[in-house]
């Protein structure tokens, strides 16, 4: 029982609190590459704090969908965070969910986000929604094939057993199957979290936006929820990536609360490395032409599919 409460606290509280930090780190890396000091790493916390205090302005022509969407998007992001464990040392008593649930619970949030973007009838919301629909449809096969391949090796589709299994694999990244899946998932993360080269999170050009275009009509608390949900979703994907392919829980010899603490610290260090990686990709690439995104999605799918075939050819 106590494990369950601990799991609950870590998976929601810890992830929600840590999520904006990732954005701060990526922004800092970009600023340093441009010889700027840049905003503080904690800037997103200040922004969210400010936004939560502000009132929301809602368009007269919008329906209830526009108003409930921030809550749905936030709830789905937190639910997704519940599924992906940040450490395998805390054992939940029940099965927390499988990879298919993970993918589609996030899709539910996205579905409502697209509806809300269309709801206000603004020009850019519609454009953002249609682009988001295109990108997510293209990226979905690759994420499913990736996760199911790992699931096949671990002989489970539930996320927790897969992750526990992966803790026993020595250096997964020297194994071709895992390397392929790792690269495929990295592309998925970039696409799912609206980063360069798929989308530009810091653009002011309304005609080029994807994710930002859908948020244009939001303000105040609703905007804060949407932004925080996006950050949580980003951290969930990063957690998936680092905990699957850079396992560390086996390395800790001790048990108990101290072990969990050390595990979380190592986890944060891994998140930092992943943020560094994403930041470096952002600095060195430019935004792709919109109709070149299918090529990137295809690359991701091919990588995951090669991984999938390798599993059948050579085993896990």
């Amino acid at each position: 029982m106590s494990d369950m409460i601990l799991y609950f606290i870590v998976q929601t509280g810890f992830v929600i609190l840590a999520a904006p930090l990732v954005n701060g780190i990526i922004k800092k890396i970009k600023a340093l590459s441009q010889k700027r000091t840049g905003a503080p790493v904690l800037q997103m916390y200040y922004d969210l704090f400010k936004l939560f205090k502000k009132t929301s302005v809602v368009s007269d022509v919008s329906s209830w969908i526009f108003r409930v969407t921030p809550y749905i998007v936030f709830a789905t992001a937190v639910a997704a965070a519940m599924i992906v464990p940040v450490t395998t040392l805390i054992k939940p008593v029940w099965n927390t969910g499988d990879v298919i649930l993970l993918v589609y619970i996030l899709a539910l949030g996205r579905f409502f986000m697209m509806l809300a973007a269309l709801d206000t009838g603004s020009t850019f919301g519609g454009m953002g929604a249609s682009r988001e629909a295109m990108i997510s449809a293209l990226i979905e096969p690759s994420i499913l094939v990736s996760l199911i391949t790992v699931g096949l090796i671990a002989k489970s589709t539930a996320v927790f057993p897969i992750m526990t299994f992966m803790q026993t694999v020595q250096n997964p990244l020297i194994h071709p199957v895992y390397l392929m899946i790792f690269c495929a998932l990295l592309i998925v993360i970039i696409a799912e979290t609206s980063r360069i080269p798929v989308d530009d999170p810091s653009t002011h050009l309304e005609l080029t936006m994807v994710h930002e275009a859908m948020l244009l009509e939001y303000s105040g608390r609703s905007l804060a929820l949407m932004e925080l949900a996006a950050a949580i979703k980003q951290l969930v994907f990063i957690t998936l990536l680092v905990n699957l392919f850079l396992p560390h829980d086996q390395l800790i010899g001790i048990h108990g609360i101290a072990a969990i603490g050390i595990s979380l610290l190592i986890y944060l260090a891994k998140v930092f490395i992943a943020a560094l990686l994403i930041g470096i990709v952002e600095v060195n690439t430019v935004k792709l032409r919109l109709f070149s995104i299918p090529n990137l999605a295809a690359l991701s799918f091919i990588l995951s599919f090669i991984g999938f075939l390798q599993f059948f050819a050579f085993g896990g």
């Binding site: 080269p197 810091s202 430019v286 919109l290």
Partner: protein
């Protein structure tokens, strides 16, 4: 061909239509012709002789000759001669034959004349309003002399009609006039089929300030300050063109040192502008590293401007007859050092961005402006040079200094964002080299001649190569050293329609990139 030969050739072919030779400078030839023959003549000049229409404007000369006049300026860019046709329009008639069917570049000028003077172009294919939106009353024509500048017309309520593309699955995207970034106002109406753009119509003139009317009756000195404020980042070149026109009317030859100093500033303005554009292109494809490199170098260039004249936007440098102060004297060493610093940083950045295949993929074959369209619309400046048109005022209408300094017009042919970017990159090097050469070969001496009295009702063109391209000002003086008519034609006026053509077939998210590669001024177009 000299002006005399051009005159002879036209008299041979159209002897009966030419009423008289109005006036002639060394490189400007004014011919008054019969109004009903303008279409044939302009068609002949544009197509047979190959001279593009570079400016066109009306003038209320009812107080002088009892008529309105319309001037058509064609440029012989090979031998550097402007051929200007003039027609007179009787006040009771108020119409003139449209040449837009033969000379496409005339279409926008004729709409402008219609809005500002109420002279109707007969036979214009699409003579809808250009300068004024629905809130300006019809039958109110501010550039007629009878219109009082202080008069405030009532608001009219008329809807703007945009060209519609009607088909299944075709949508309209209205963008602006207020944009997400800090930029000038302009409304863009896209007709799109999904993401590809079928048609783009730009509604400009949100910042129409009536500059041309404002200058009328004001002193020549005062109008110099207005010229400096036409468009924020083209202060120097506009003042330069204005000064050239006045100096030409006054028959004044400015001191050589002043001419050199002007060239240094003109090139500095070009360097600053191009660095800003290159940074903008990188920003629009989310290439943050390169963008901040260019912005940093632009800051350095602004620093040079500040050091030379105490004004980063180069206002207050020009005076009629020369320059205000000897801005360069004593600062040569520091100037050379800073220019070399920019040059070496620029070289490094160029290597990095050209090695980035993601970046090159974005700019290549995006927003192609074909040579044909560029020629038809008389596109100027970097967009025209990127499309293979060799037009540069510094070569075709050079002053003494540009004639002495050696430089080459960048040659590109594809007309896409990549070519426009490369033209700007090459011109950055060129600007630095020209500045260094000018500092090196600058003679000592006076920096200003004084202008006392200028004869009334004289007129001349002043031309400069602004960072955005060919910049043409026409001035007609009035009594007591005042302006009678000031026609400003900035490069942006020519390039806006070219932009609308270049985006066709491209994706909506590529529009900001294409727009940035043209880098057009709204203030310079709206006047």
């Amino acid at each position: 061909m000299t002006a005399i030969e051009i005159n002879k050739k036209l008299i041979e072919n159209f002897g009966d239509d030419i009423i008289k030779t109005v006036k002639a400078y060394e490189n400007e030839l004014y011919l008054e012709i019969k109004p009903d023959r303008i279409r044939e003549l302009s068609g002949y000049i544009n197509h047979e002789m190959g001279y593009p229409l570079v400016s066109m404007f009306a003038n209320d000369e009812t107080s002088l000759i009892g008529k309105y006049a319309v001037y058509y300026a064609f440029a012989d860019r090979v031998s550097g001669i402007l051929l200007i046709l003039k027609i007179g329009i009787e006040p009771e008639q108020m119409t003139f034959e449209s040449i837009a069917g033969k000379v496409h570049a005339a279409a926008r000028y004729e709409r402008e004349i219609k809005d500002l003077f109420g002279l109707n172009p007969v036979g214009h294919p699409n003579a809808k309003r250009l300068v004024f939106h629905g809130n300006w009353p019809r039958e109110t024509f501010p550039l007629r002399k009878a219109y009082d500048l202080k008069h405030r017309p009532d608001f009219a309520k008329e809807k703007i009609n945009f060209s519609k593309v009607i088909s299944a699955g075709v949508f309209e995207i209205p963008v602006g006039p207020v944009h997400a970034g800090i930029i000038e106002p302009g409304h863009f109406r896209f007709s799109v089929a999904g993401e590809p753009i079928i048609n783009l119509e730009a509604q400009l003139y949100f910042v129409h300030k009536g500059i041309e009317k404002l200058c009328e009756g004001e002193s020549l000195e005062k109008c110099l300050f207005v010229a400096e404020r036409i468009s924020g980042d083209e202060s120097f070149t506009n003042a330069y063109a204005y000064c050239q026109a006045i100096e030409k009317i006054a028959g004044l030859k400015i001191p050589e040192r002043a001419e050199y100093i002007r060239v240094v500033f003109a090139e500095l303005e070009r360097l600053t502008s191009h660095l800003g554009d290159l940074g903008g292109i990188c920003t629009d494809v989310a290439y943050g590293f390169a963008a901040s490199q260019f912005k940093m170098m632009r800051g350095w260039a602004y620093g040079i401007a500040d050091e030379l004249c105490g004004m980063r936007f180069l206002r207050g440098v020009n005076r009629l007859g020369g320059v205000r102060k000897d801005f360069v004297a004593g600062k040569e060493a520091s100037l050379i050092r800073q220019l070399k610093k920019i040059r070496s940083e620029f070289e490094e950045t160029e290597v990095i961005i050209k090695a980035n295949s993601f970046f090159i993929d974005r700019v290549e074959n995006t927003g192609i402006l074909s040579a044909q369209i560029a020629a038809d619309l008389n596109a100027v400046g970097p967009p025209a040079r990127a499309a293979g048109i060799r037009s540069d005022v510094r070569k075709s209408f050079p002053n003494r200094v540009y004639r002495q300094l050696s430089f080459a017009i960048p040659e590109h042919h594809n007309g896409d964002v990549n070519c426009r970017m490369n033209v700007k990159i090459e011109e950055c090097y060129q600007a630095i080299d020209l500045m260094l050469a000018a500092i090196d070969s600058m003679p000592a001496g006076r920096i200003r001649e004084s202008i006392t009295t200028v004869a009334p009702y004289q007129f001349a063109f002043g031309m400069t190569e602004a960072p955005r391209g060919e910049n043409i000002h026409w001035v007609m003086t009035g009594e007591n050293n005042t302006i009678f008519r000031y026609k400003i034609r900035t490069p942006s006026f020519c390039n806006w329609p070219a932009l609308c053509h270049a985006v066709k077939g491209n994706l909506v998210p590529d529009f900001p990139l294409i727009n940035k590669s043209f880098n057009l001024s709204y203030a310079g177009n709206d006047l």
